[in-house]
Amino acid sequence: MKLAGQGTALRLAVLSAPVFAALLAAFAFGPYPLSPAEALAALWAGPSAESDAATVVWQLRLPRILAGLLVGAALSAAGAAYQGMFRNPLVSPDILGVSAGAGLGAALAIYFGLSLAAVQALAFAGGLLAVAAVVFVAGQVRRHDPVLVLVLAGVAVGTLFAAGISLVKVLADPSVQLPAITFWLLGGLNAVASGDLGLAAPLIAVGLLPMLLLRWRINLLSLSDEEAAALGVNVVRLRGTLIVSATLITAAAVSVAGIVGWVGLVVPHAARLLVGPEFSRLLPASLLLGGGFLVAADTLARSAAAIELPLGILTALVGAPAFLWLLARTGRGGA
């Protein structure tokens, strides 16, 4: 299974195969089933072709698939960055409270009856606000391991925002608002329109850029602060840059898809087993696997049952056992 020693091209090809399979399945499956050949033909025919298949593929499925790729890739990249930076392979992208903050923002927007765009905007802002609060609080604490302080502050601020979410749920109208909040918190791509991606995609690209550029140096953050500094890295600045970019990415993804758990934890972990922990290989592998995984999960969510299953439930159902399997397979958590 270890691909670390193989050539880059071969490695990417091996990792791309399941992603392409997931994409094909995503275009084919759904309430209006198509054969893979029909799906490809409809794609080939273009968005303006006069057929039901073309409408389904181009109008309904393509935006969702793009959203799945984007959100899955974003959460996985952020997870890979956080796991390295916090020297813990069991960390997920919401370690610093971004999901709780986004959840509170979205819940408030729904409570006040705002538009879908406002729900996304407030979710995004809430996510950034929560992490800003965590970083600010952690910055006030000295004489402790800064990584530990960040994690603890993240837990506390996350709890605070989660309490806020509960409060809004109690106050919300139980027939309309409460289900809306609950479904938002469970995550899903059903409400995604192509316009949403126009906002989220650039934000995610901006967040990914520092990760891409600093991909070698990021490795050194998984050493102790002293070691990294003695190797010539400005640890505080590098960690700060990475927190900002990972937060931006996660908040943008959560604002589009709600809280989709487990992807950002399991995918980087699996990618690390496949290509090793070196970030310049781990990042592309996480992006590919994460995008493919979420597209597959979303395909399952909308075609497995008569009603659409919330995506967050499915990623947890698939992610948690997959994670346990990976854990048992390697025999230790450090891989």
């Binding site: 020693g5 813990n88 000295r142 004489r143 490795n219 002293e226 190797l231 010539g232 922990p277």
Partner: protein, 252 residues
């Protein structure tokens, strides 16, 4: 000229000073060995000399230039730190761990080149562990990890090395192996400041020793300074017990 020099250095944290009045000088091409009990301030002193912890008072110079004048990356090309052999967390290959030593020599956005890889392999070869390059760092022995960390410092192409208890938690064979490599590094012109808990290791490799107790240098000079009485006072032990454990010591 001293390659690493502390004058009147006070170390520690703002609300918790650890030591003061520390004068220390590491000459070019020599090995200075720091001895002292746990909690004496060795780690804090190293952190200060590496420019990670600002000094509370006094000055530190590296190659004649004040420490706070050195940009982080430039300092790393002159001064390297070898931590105690640690288990590591992620399954980097040994070569990747050594390559991390090249970071200070890379442009900010670059990844290591073929040349960097060649340097990393050569550094492993020089320490006789070239065969470990493709192994997983977390899966090799403690002694091998210590040698890999020394190779990482060599890959930095620094000329001054700070080694934190390089023989700690190694078995006897690996201790000897690491000591032999420290000798070899000196022969190649490196200047080395190291700490150890084993006075016999200081006696074996050091040109000079410094005794650090409760944040103060209580003695600095040639190896002969390490008498049974001096060590007994340093560690709060009985002089005859020290002499029994280390029969090679000179008696004062």
């Amino acid at each position: 000229m001293s390659v690493l020099e502390a004058r009147g250095l006070a170390i520690g944290y703002r609300h918790r000073p650890v030591g003061e009045g520390i004068d220390l000088a590491l000459g070019a091409g020599e090995i200075l060995c720091l001895l002292g009990p746990n909690g004496g301030g060795k780690t804090t002193l190293f952190r200060t000399l590496l420019g990670i912890l600002p000094p509370l008072a006094g000055t530190a110079h590296v190659l004649g230039r004040p420490l706070d004048d050195w940009p982080r990356a430039a300092l790393a090309t002159r001064l390297a730190y070898v931590p105690q052999s640690h288990a590591g967390l992620f399954a980097f290959t040994v070569e990747e761990v050594v390559l991390m030593g090249r970071t200070a020599r890379l442009p900010r956005f670059a990844t290591p080149s073929a040349h960097d890889r060649a340097v990393a392999r050569e550094c492993l070869e020089r320490l006789g562990v070239g065969h470990l390059a493709a192994r997983i760092y977390t899966e090799i022995s403690g002694g091998e990890r210590q040698l890999a960390l020394i190779a990482r410092a060599l890959a930095q192409e620094a000329i001054v090395l700070i080694l934190d208890e390089p023989t700690a938690s190694l078995d006897f064979g690996n201790q000897l192996r690491v000591l032999k490599e420290i000798d070899a590094l000196k022969a190649r012109g490196f200047s080395i400041l190291m700490s150890t808990h084993q006075p016999e290791h200081a006696l074996r490799v050091a040109d000079r020793i410094a005794l650090l107790k409760a944040g103060r240098i209580v003695g600095q000079g040639p190896r002969a300074l390490a008498t049974a009485e001096a060590l007994a006072a340093l560690y709060g032990a009985d002089a005859s017990e020290v002499a029994r454990s280390l029969p090679q010591l000179a008696r004062a």
